[in-house]
Symmetry: C2
Subunit: 505 residues, 2 copies
Amino acid sequence: MEQTYKQRLRDKRLEDRIISEETAASWIKDGMTLGLSGFTRAGDAKAVPSALVEKAKEEHLKVNVYTGASLGSDIDRLMAEAGVVNKRLPFQADKTMRNEINQGDMLFVDQHLSHTAEAIRQDVLNPIDYAIVEAVSITEDGMIIPSTSVGNSSIFAEKAENVIVELNLAQSDAFESLHDIYELGAQGKRQPIPLTQVDDRIGTIGIQVDIEKIKGIVITNQPDSPSTIVPPDEETATMANHLIDFLRKEVEIGRLPENLAPLQSGIGSVANAVFHGLLDSEFTDLEVYSEVLQDAVFDLLDAGKIKFASGCSITLSEDKLEEVYWNIDRYRDQLLLRPQEISNHPEIIRRLGLISINTPLEVDIYGNVNSTHVLGTKMMNGIGGSGDFTRNSRLAIFVTKSIAKNGDISSVVPFVSHVDHTEHDVDVIVTEQGYADLRGLAPKERVPLIIENCAHPTYRDQLYAYYEDAWEKGGQTPHVLEKAFEWHTRFKETGTMKAAALQHS
Amino acid sequence: MEQTYKQRLRDKRLEDRIISEETAASWIKDGMTLGLSGFTRAGDAKAVPSALVEKAKEEHLKVNVYTGASLGSDIDRLMAEAGVVNKRLPFQADKTMRNEINQGDMLFVDQHLSHTAEAIRQDVLNPIDYAIVEAVSITEDGMIIPSTSVGNSSIFAEKAENVIVELNLAQSDAFESLHDIYELGAQGKRQPIPLTQVDDRIGTIGIQVDIEKIKGIVITNQPDSPSTIVPPDEETATMANHLIDFLRKEVEIGRLPENLAPLQSGIGSVANAVFHGLLDSEFTDLEVYSEVLQDAVFDLLDAGKIKFASGCSITLSEDKLEEVYWNIDRYRDQLLLRPQEISNHPEIIRRLGLISINTPLEVDIYGNVNSTHVLGTKMMNGIGGSGDFTRNSRLAIFVTKSIAKNGDISSVVPFVSHVDHTEHDVDVIVTEQGYADLRGLAPKERVPLIIENCAHPTYRDQLYAYYEDAWEKGGQTPHVLEKAFEWHTRFKETGTMKAAALQHS
Ligand SMILES: CC(C)(COP(=O)(O)OP(=O)(O)OC[C@H]1O[C@@H](n2cnc3c(N)ncnc32)[C@H](O)[C@@H]1OP(=O)(O)O)[C@@H](O)C(=O)NCCC(=O)NCCS
Ligand SMILES: CC(C)(COP(=O)(O)OP(=O)(O)OC[C@H]1O[C@@H](n2cnc3c(N)ncnc32)[C@H](O)[C@@H]1OP(=O)(O)O)[C@@H](O)C(=O)NCCC(=O)NCCS
């Protein structure tokens, strides 16, 4: 190991900065703000946050934690359990942390993933005391080479007062030259982002900081946590087929080229399954311009279906992880990882004309979407990049099962209990029932499409009943405000959204 | 007049295409789709739509009407009264049309103003049979020079099968060279928009189309309708002062330069009044990158406070209109009018780091904003550009009076009855009571700020009472869903949002 880390720490000036994670943790004081690498469980700082959790068992310690997105290695859980987090942003996806947030024991700011870097640049958030970033190597001239994600690491390192690097020997150093780090500079003084094709390289292979800021280097040896997605099932396969049908028709009528447009797909099992569906489709020469690259992207690369994939992190299941990480060379000409500000930038998303595919919790009869709040109040994960993509893509698609919790929750409701994506932003909704193409339609034209093509048959009459009442009252977007959330409150009281009359059937 | 129009119609090839508005109207058939110039009452096609309304009195005629934004010259009212519109997009602001929409007599698609051109380019909307655009001149080589707005005219003319030009002699031909027309091209094939400063000229001075498509030229002589905004009053002056206080502090702590950042201001009286407030402020060398340029922008130009203003239309009150339009030469080096796709483009808004100032109907205690739907169901005007700007600006500010309808409506409510801008997108809320800076705050941190600094004193206890009930239930964003819209339903039933206990006070 001695030798290995010497090969990876190539800047001679930094050789004497190797420290233990405990030493690093000892520098972190109550009230500080940390910027941690890590995006959807990939490339997260592992050792120092764990040591920090240990330290917090001995002394009062509360810090603000900024990340790329969710962390792996149980860090979010351990931090939540230790009560070490005052404020967390911009995204998390851990059960224990979620509970802490919803109980009011910690503060969570749910941000568009492309917005955090801008807020940091504008000095709107607390200044970052320590950036703690995982790397696979440090080059001769002190450039930090990230591992399996970029996330917000480059802006954290640039803006933080101090930087701690976790040099992780359990991550393949073949990741070197797979990153493309681009710094936008101040608003008002910046140039256009010179990216016009998915495979354009526009930046450097690593993060260059003033090496005086690198206060310590911790050598670690711990793989990323595998993703928690579940494999595609019959229902998700049906959803994928509906989506592919829709895309096929768009190609037929000449709205999309044969190889579609660069694809983005959200996090989670459903999004992965939908991408998986492309494996058996006729589509080829595909391009991906996304945030997280999940299993299906690599299956599609292996099958020769995808030409190029640009992302900001790679998050894989247990089996796939070993296979991909240690054979990453295979994908050298087909893969780039960029800062989340670039992967999710409105400028690029609009310019390239992406097809974005995300998963909501619920949608309503007018096409508004809730991605974050269970029953309107409890945080699930966060909006993530879904807003960045949905607003600016060429085709904003949402894919969800029509029901949840064994049918006691309808994913199509009269009025979503929290709005993350408005009716102005949502183009197509897909469920296992079919799809509704809402483009160019007025609210009242959308209703029958969504009910007939997307809602579960169990809930269709109930949705029509609501709409008929609402329709009587008139308006551009008819509602019976008294009853708008009745389905949600019924579920809380009775355990099902089904109306009394239907429960016996 | 004969001579005047000859000076203005400089392309010899088009001389024989002069027709009457009646002839033009006779070409328009039931079921067609029209693309009309016009943006917030400025530069609208006037004669042909009026003739069309006359024609519709004789025969069954329903057309789809796409515009830049709202039309002037009573065209929207007349079209609504004649029942001539099947589907209208992307914005309107006329009382009669609004009623038609809300009664369900016509379809209205409320779109982000930067999205319409993209939808047309993607062939997602009905193909445009006739583009009818107002011009001040046609150059020697057939380039159409728009008048007081650009709006969607360039994309309409490019994509329409046929073009009719209204050459309006009542508009100053000194507008020639004040426009900057840039066509983005297809998504996936386009280059970055080369605009990095507010005053960058990136396109041509007019709209170039295949002249075979120009089917007729109608000579008109009718000025734009003046805007309907009311002058600033004491309350709006107070609001402006709060906003200026906020901006001043941002400069003091080094977050903004002394001349701020390019400013956008929404439509309406409130937005105009707030801009007007800058007249007496210390701020100078200001830049404007906005959609509609209202009275206050020209007052600020005259006062030497604004260096440069880029917009997509000029909409002025009666007095100001004469003065500005016929002295437009005075502003030649300080003014550019661009297509709304460019004035509202996320790429530019984010790059320049705008300060956007828009007016909502209502906001809620968590910072969600309703810009469009009165009591959740009835369309007011539309989202306009407020979403384009709010999502992508450096500072997204909403300014509103804390109460409406003599205090019977609170502009701060527990849960907005329609969401146009989500909590992720809203930075600062200003009312005559003060301002709430929501940046970097979790939902629960926002509540006391919004109630204390923005809500009207009459409604504060009532808001706290709701929040306390909600807080008991927990969650990231506590709500009592059963009561979320109680204020709105109370207003409908009793004529006031005030709770019974408060009505006697
Ligand atoms: C919405 C989201 C949670 C769905 O995740 P998923 O793994 O694809 O979907 P699942 O169907 O497995 O749903 C996850 C859970 O939510 C529950 N759920 C689904 N719809 C629900 C609803 N309408 N109300 C309440 N719970 C619901 C499911 O039952 C499941 O619960 P469980 O974990 O207890 O089994 C996830 O996509 C997300 O966080 N999205 C927001 C961020 C985002 O879109 N990012 C994309 C760009 S990064
Ligand atoms: C919201 C909007 C209507 C406000 O317009 P304004 O002229 O500045 O504001 P006013 O305070 O005069 O309000 C206009 C009307 O709405 C009413 N109103 C205001 N708040 C209300 C509320 N919460 N509920 C019901 N009605 C309300 C006012 O009483 C007034 O009614 P009246 O015409 O019968 O007198 C206008 O800004 C708008 O349409 N915005 C959306 C589009 C947009 O933001 N564009 C900006 C980029 S283009």
